[in-house]
Symmetry: C2
Subunit: 417 residues, 2 copies
């Protein structure tokens, strides 16, 4: 079961937007056993679209295309899709009814010819009904390949993939499985980790694939296996994980495929009925955002303050001016007072604070570029830390955010086990 994913639009090719649709579709297809052989972004011209359809015709079982289904002239996917199959466009009465209702009832204006034309679909296509927008998805089987065309607006695409396309594909293809097991490690670099597990890696059977995914402070190890016999696949992965675990016990933070240290911390907070707040300077809201975006965040996340300006640290968080003058605004003492301020303001069990200079140039403080101070306060005590995360800016911020979550995790585990 091979698949290709095609995104259509010059805005992608000139770098005006990042294509996030492909990853969403890939994940959904991988989950039901497809092997994605290529993802490609192409221009919104009839030539590029039909050449790409041709290239994948009979080479893969499924081609999922997104984009180019809008009502305006620059969107040529529907026309090209239709002529590729030598079909004609007809108006779908269900779609027309839906578009009319959406425009007239929700947007409260009269329907126009462009809106009416959105209900046109190739006569032989299976319509993938789009409840959350005006452009329907379309599916056509041609020789050995299913071709699917979906709108590019992310929330419309997501709805159609999850609610309409995946259930359809599950009925149309024999079950197949991709099993991935990701092991997330923090604090040990990629090459050191590789040397540590070299013997195990050399003994891996050829049908188990290992990948290293490094990012600041973290390496994900992903074991993958594909096939039809789910029990065999799961056993094969489990056997390898059991051998690997003792080798990485000290730096392992989680085992769930989509686990992150953010999710781990979120789960620990929930399990232990702890609440948290944050006070951020150099991480500028990233910690709050990460604490906040996990479903169920309201159970533990009390809130956060982004105290960007030095004056805000004094006014909002109650950091003493004297502490700043004596120690510099980037100091463990200031981080500590920020954390205490957040804990007091939000009445939380824990509070984490960051203050640093992410660079590229020196800011309000004259500490070295890359320096970050962190503080964690809780009923178990107060802790402060100083690190230098080097450069560039992006790496400093990522490292500081990750380190903050490592600190929170260790504190909760140490005091609750």
């Amino acid at each position: 079961m091979k698949a290709a994913i095609v995104t259509i639009g010059d805005e992608i090719l000139i770098g005006q937007i990042v294509d996030t649709n492909s990853a969403f579709i890939a994940k959904a297809l991988d989950d039901i056993g497809f092997q994605i052989v290529e993802m490609i972004s192409i221009s919104d011209t009839e030539k590029a679209i039909s050449e790409t359809m041709n290239r994948y015709q009979n080479q893969v079982d499924l081609v999922v295309m997104t984009g180019g289904l809008g009502p305006t002239k620059d969107d040529v996917t529907k026309k090209t899709f239709c002529s590729y199959f030598n079909d004609v466009l007809i108006s779908d009465s269900e779609v027309l009814k839906h578009v009319t209702a959406l425009i007239e009832d929700f947007y409260k204006r009269k329907i126009t010819q462009m809106n009416i034309d959105q209900a046109l679909v190739p006569s032989k296509a299976t319509v993938l009904f789009n409840k959350v927008g005006t452009a329907p998805g379309m599916l056509m089987k041609h020789e050995q390949t299913f071709f699917v065309s979906l709108p590019g607006v992310p929330y419309e695409m997501k709805y159609l993939v999850s609610e309409v396309l995946i259930p359809y594909l599950e009925q149309s293809f024999e079950p197949s499985y991709n099993i991935h097991q990701t092991l997330i490690t923090h604090g040990v670099g990629e090459s050191l980790l590789a040397e540590r597990i070299a013997d195990w890696e050399n003994d891996l059977p050829s049908y188990v694939h290992l990948a290293y995914l490094p990012s600041p402070r973290m390496v994900k190890l992903r074991l993958s296996i594909s096939g039809k016999d789910k029990v065999f696949l799961e056993d094969a992965i489990r056997e390898q994980v059991e051998k690997l675990l003792p080798l990485i016990k000290d730096c392992l933070i989680g085992l769930n495929e989509n686990e992150t240290i953010f999710k781990v911390v979120s789960d620990l907070l929930k399990e232990n009925n702890l609440t948290i707040a944050c006070a951020e300077s150099c991480t500028g809201g990233q910690i709050a955002k990460l604490l906040n975006e996990i479903p169920g965040a309201s159970a533990y996340f009390q809130g956060g303050v982004v105290a960007y300006a030095t004056q805000s640290k004094i006014d909002v968080l109650g950091v003493s001016e004297n502490t700043i003058n004596k120690n510099s605004v980037v100091s463990e003492q200031v981080a500590l007072e920020m954390a205490l301020g957040a804990k007091r303001l939000f009445k939380s069990d824990l509070a984490i604070a960051t203050t640093g200079n992410a660079g590229p140039s020196k800011g309000d403080s004259d500490v070295e570029v890359g320096t970050v101070c962190l503080a964690l306060v809780s009923k178990f005590g107060e802790k402060t830390f100083t690190f230098n995360f080097g450069q560039p800016r992006e790496k400093v911020i990522d490292s500081a955010v990750n380190k903050a979550f490592e600190i929170i995790r260790e504190e909760i585990i140490k005091n609750n086990s």
Copy 2:
């Protein structure tokens, strides 16, 4: 000058990560006149890499590949790259010196064989020296095509593209130009906008390409033109922009290629010496993040509170319990008290607040899903608003954030012109 961008890694094909490298490279190449014909993501196997190199050989002038250059076994790009050109790997003494220094001085540990091997490069390659990491970039010209291989770690790739590759390409290729002019409109839907400008669009010369890029509350119109004669290209675009402007005057918010309503608001705040703070509930830190991430934010952004829990609205922002009980936590009155609280806490000139129910289910309030209340307070007065942005959740949050910036923009323009 045609180019293709190739990203290598199964983590992309299974949807484990979103490929953001391609957009960065595309933008950089587009800026110096390249036409990106395709972006493709492929598996990290020798077969997929060499087939893809073959496919683009002599079809494009430049192929930029990222990923698969790490020290571990799953990274096969360097080996494949080298054997594609029938070359051999040799150790580069400059790179080895740099890797040794980085490991021994910065990470304070002994260098290993894996680190030493990172200094291997094909003997005929031009080395793109990587100051911010251990894996060097490589460049080889083969027949009509330049092939470039870069590490996939985003900040390393960005450094190499901006500081090393682009200057090299500017010297190696004759100057060519892609001129884009983006006009950003807010508040008028795509099909209504298209009908309004239909006559102008029909009269566009064939060498000027128009694209519509819709997202919640916003449509970007992008005019593009490519060629060698910069003066002609710029004149042709300017002529069309001048004809288009009067047709969209009421909904236009900006003309800079990379302008966003966030950048527009940031500029307005700076020009008028105004400071701002925010208090967010349903937008969960998005407004703070957007205010914060524009360079120079410290000139106007005083800080923000993410008051997720109802109790935090009371404790931190000083919203009265009585107001919440009388009006519901999602109400204009609560939004107003949140904004007043943020303005007082951060001593800012303006403060914006959001409270709403983004769905999918009803939360602390029983207002309809999709309802968002906003408030803006400033020395010019207090304003409150209620909207229903429908569903799904993502669209509600995007719409609320955009609407918040529209409100700030209008308020500043009205009172400072």
